[in-house]
């Protein structure tokens, strides 16, 4: 599903953010990416959806070889990957429904299917009743649920979340975690970078620990490391 071999990433300013990572993640896994600030977690994630290109090494996502990928093929890679961020990235002038539908419209989805798919996924994130609300009328947790709905509406085999609970209070964070687990239970691979120790130690999953651009631990039922 996801495979990296000897991947290195040096930014143009000379920072070596990923320093030789090899990893294999199977379809349907739930994986936490943890590590101190500046360890390279976000870079690791950006390499997967081709926000950044590796300096060296090979990456395969869902059968797509990223090193040979042409620029104009990148959009088709991204249709396989739902991405979720700490800051939600919703469009403020669009309603909840429109924000989710947007993701389908811009990839040329048949308008006939859009409504059904959007309502389905809003049902899953339990926001059907807020379909006509605008993002600034929602709580942070609700906004994150909309952004998760948008990331999965196209039914990608994998979703990648970079600190999805980073802006949320503990209560709301659990809500988001339950949602991500539910999505994972339906067969979607979930990758999640986080600093939330309690979550990682409570909802026990595979934990990959990155430090200084290297994987220092990779445990099937791991724990949050000893750094703060």
């Amino acid at each position: 599903m996801i495979e990296m071999k000897d991947v290195y990433k040096t930014y143009s300013n000379g920072v070596l953010a990923i320093n030789g990572i090899s990893i294999k993640i199977n379809q349907g896994e739930f994986v936490y990416i943890v590590g101190p600030s500046g360890a390279g977690k976000s870079t690791f994630i950006k390499l997967m959806y081709r926000e950044e290109k590796p300096t060296k090494g090979s990456i395969v996502i869902n059968g797509i070889q990223l090193e040979n990928l042409k620029e104009k093929e990148v959009p088709y890679l991204r249709r396989n990957i739902g991405v979720v961020f700490q800051d939600f990235k919703l469009l403020p002038k669009l309603t909840v429904y429109e924000n989710v539908a947007f993701a389908l419209e811009v990839i040329g989805e048949n308008p006939k299917n859009i409504k059904k798919k959007v309502l389905n996924v809003l049902d899953l994130v339990q926001l059907k009743h807020k379909a006509r609300s605008f993002p600034d009328e929602l709580s942070g947790g609700e906004q994150q649920r909309v952004s998760i709905a948008r990331s999965i509406v196209n039914n990608p085999p994998v979703i990648i979340a970079d600190e999805p609970t980073g802006n949320l209070d503990p209560e709301t964070s659990w809500e988001i975690m339950r949602l991500l687990e539910e999505i994972n239970n339906r067969g979607t691979t979930v990758l999640m970078a986080t600093h939330n120790k309690v979550i990682v130690n409570t909802i026990r999953k595979r934990v990959i620990t990155i430090e200084d651009g290297k994987i220092v631990r990779d445990e099937a039922r791991g724990e949050y490391g000893l750094y703060e």
Binding site: P75, R79, K89, E105
Partner: protein, 299 residues
Amino acid sequence: MVFMNKTLGRHLREAVKSLGRNAWMSIASISAVTVTLLLVGTFLVIMMNLNNIASNIEEDVEITVLIDRTADQNAQNQLESKLKNLEKVENVQFSSKDQELEKLIKSFGEKGESFKLFEQDNPLNDVFIVKTKVPEDTPVVAEEIKKMRYVENVQYGEETVKKLFEVVNVSRNIGIVLIIGLVFTAMFLISNTIKITIFARRREIEIMKLVGATNWFIRWPFFLEGLFLGALGAVIPITVLVVSYNSLVNIAVPYIQGSFVELLPFSPFVFQISAILLLIGVLIGIWGSLMSVRKFLKV
């Protein structure tokens, strides 16, 4: 280019929306295109008409050789064969003074009636009309003929043709410089308008990229916006062209009838120029948006 019949409606809506959203920039861009095309239109109308006139004249650049009145039939025949033997001459035609008067009367239309008085006592000469093989040789041949016996004088449209071509050349150069400057200004303004649109949409564009919209899908609305700005800029110039050329033709024709000055007929000339203006407007628009899209969109 990824084609997109099912999403065309969406792109059109987006393009029109941002025209309205940056109303002032849109108006500025459209005005720049309008000014440019007004000038291009005026220029084209003048140039093409001058060219037409010049080539009309050039085509019948002929030398009129006035035959000395003292020449008898024999002398006249001699002169004719001498003219015909000139290497650069294509043909020589005799025209009697009565025929010449007739032509003169005709060329003046109704006002020519007054020349009928001269029918009794024709002051004109018998002439040979000499045509050279190439128009450029006319002056040389004319000089040569002037020296021959029994030639009272020679006439040809030397000065007129020379001056006309000078005018055509000078105004062409001025016009081209002006138009190039204006085209660039218009392109620059359009690309700025598009830049503002791109900036206003940067979040949307970011999300489009994240969820896997193709580059062409992202670019289309901006191309359409540029295209609209250019096409809208052509509306006023085309209207002005159609209306004013129509009146020009109506007003001028009675005055210039019969002279070598002649306006190109309204149709198809005006429609051709209109098409050219629309095309230039659209190209300016697309080019302007191309510059911004390439520089600021990074897709």
